[in-house]
Assembly symmetry: C2
Homo-oligomer: 329 residues x 2
DNA sequence: TCCTTATGTGTAACCGATTACACACTTAGA
DNA sequence: TCTAAGTGTGTAATCGGTTACACATAAGGA
């Protein structure tokens, strides 16, 4: 491996001068700089990030903590983060925490030990205290926080929106899928939907799912049709849940959207591939990831002094699990 | 941050002794070891990985190169890699190369600069030369190689299997979706299918898709039904392609599997959520990831001298886009 | 002309670990 | 009793960068 010393020797200068040329800091004579640049090219020298990181106590690495990359919502988020970060020459150490505090702590430990510059966390239901006393900034993603900067979508509005669209399209006996009670984002949309249903004096039932996995959603779906067979509209807590409902409905010969309307939440890529394609509330996952990355970078640059929350809007994506209506108001 | 020097000072020994106790190397008196362990706990000292990595020229970081995490096949792969690696205390720097050689090179550069211990690459169609002259081992995943260790599923057998199952179930005018010609894995399954169709003297047509994205698959699907309306069986190059075909068929009122059978490839999580659930050839993505990680670790431990290829079996997952047959032979 | 400031460069300390080497003390065997 | 091997520990070099500081020279102002 060629080191800065090799470059210095070949260019006939000291390592300090090479370092200054490399980082554009301090005085370096124009001629010297050119000579060094040339030498660097000739030797195809690349600085050792580890050595750099050791001295500066900061690497070009960012920690990204996710619940589970296999949940189709998160790859979008992760790509958004990565694309923004990569434009700023940061790289990602990614960890899946599986909503397991031990894993989460273990990853945070890794982040510390590797001198990451910052962390973006999309994990939920974890105690905040693991994120205290860290020497780098933390941005929460897909999660609200009063104490840390965060980026999330407007769950309350999303829930209301789902309810309103469902009501407008004539469902009267609505069933709400309620996501894991410990997830604030899940509860926001749930509350939003309830608010709106109450406003319109619409009857509804609730089914709680233990997690956001498809397996749990399937169970809930089967149960729903047993317990509340008269249901003519389901507002799901996420698209995976909606898919399970759709599946179960078709299996039982219930026609969608004629007899049963379904609205999902998230708009994961799968949703448009379902049949019929799923109407849903879209969270701009990719953009959320990008925004979180931007926010973290601003924090690092000291452009923002206080913590800041960014709320992104959601929107209704009309596909074919809801009936058509005339006016678009 | 507490350093090894803090520990040494408090325990009244030298840093060398602490280091030896920490790594279990060289002689350390039992009493001294206990004292050091106690001190480490009291100070909750964690060694700085960066300093360690600088001296040893090896970190506990592994580079993972993927085409695009948003393609639902890859999260499975990535989780397999991560789970195995994490059991061995390795962490992942993940990069999405988007089949873009520039990005690929840039990530490999990052890997070098950060002293990664090894790399697992699931990128395709890239020139091998970027992987030459590296100071760490590289394992290819979902890709065959004559010069490097690799882990992949048996594409030829998978293609044959798809064709056989389709023939057994009575399709006579089959259309093959051919994946990107530059992807060896895509071509293997394609060739396998053709082999089998030829053996059975079955007619077939071919549609080539430019990429594995859903957008391209949709185009191909629409075109397929225009060009070959008599088709009664489609063997797709991946599940996303199969989903597009299924979608288009249902839109056109073609009943699946009665009039048209479809077999996908991969068995991504989405496949069972489609309606009807997709029959497909399952690649054990998660296991492939784990095997690749295991292989890399063996390589690092010097347990394997030569390069080694691991081929994992695929299997037919019968769902409901294919018709039932009596005997299961 | 003298002094201050700007420019350009080198020496050496430093970041926090690992380890080669030196040294001291036991213990065992001849 | 002497020596060699085994045990236990410390000092200092090392990994490859960055930067504080010192120093030399040139330029500008009084």
């Amino acid at each position: 491996m060629t080191t800065i010393r090799d470059v210095a020797k070949r260019a006939g200068v000291s390592v300090a001068t090479v370092s200054r040329a490399l980082n554009g800091k301090g005085y370096v004579h124009e001629d010297t700089r050119k000579l060094i640049d040339k030498t660097i090219k000739e030797l195809s020298y690349k600085p050792n990030e580890v050595a750099r990181s050791l001295y500066k106590k900061k690497s070009r690495l960012i920690g990204l903590l996710l619940p589970d990359i296999r949940n189709p919502f998160f790859p979008e988020l992760a790509r958004g983060v990565e694309d923004e970060m990569q434009e700023h020459d940061f790289r990602l150490i990614i960890g899946n925490a599986d909503e397991n505090p031990k894993k989460e702590i273990s990853y945070i430990e890794t982040f510390k030990q590797n001198n990451v510059t910052g962390v973006i966390s999309a994990t939920n239901q974890t105690e905040m205290k693991h994120f205290e006393d860290l020497s780098f900034p933390v941005v929460f993603l897909d999660r609200t926080s009063n104490h840390y900067p965060s980026v999330y979508a407007d769950g309350l509005a999303g829930g209301k929106m789902a309810a309103r669209e469902m009501i407008r399209r004539g469902s009267k006996r609505i069933c709400l899928l309620r996501g894991p009670v410990e997830l604030k984002t899940a509860q926001d949309r749930f509350k939003g939907a309830i608010d709106e249903l109450c406003n319109f004096n619409i009857n509804f039932n609730v089914m709680t799912t233990a997690s956001f996995t498809f397996a749990d959603a399937e169970k809930a779906a089967a149960e729903l049709f047993e317990k509340f067979p008269e249901t003519d509209g389901v507002i799901a807590s996420n698209d995976l849940g909606a898919a399970a409902i759709l599946h179960e409905a078709l299996k039982r010969g219930i026609s969608v959207p004629e007899e049963l309307q379904i609205i999902g939440y998230d708009d994961i890529p799968l949703s448009r591939l379902l049949f019929p394609p799923l109407s849903t509330i879209r969270q701009p996952a990719y953009d959320m990831g990008r925004e979180a990355a931007k926010l973290l970078i601003q924090l690092l640059d000291g452009e923002i002094s206080e913590h800041k929350n960014i709320q992104l809007p959601v929107r209704f994506i009309e596909r074919q699990t809801t009936r058509k209506v005339e006016n678009n108001g």
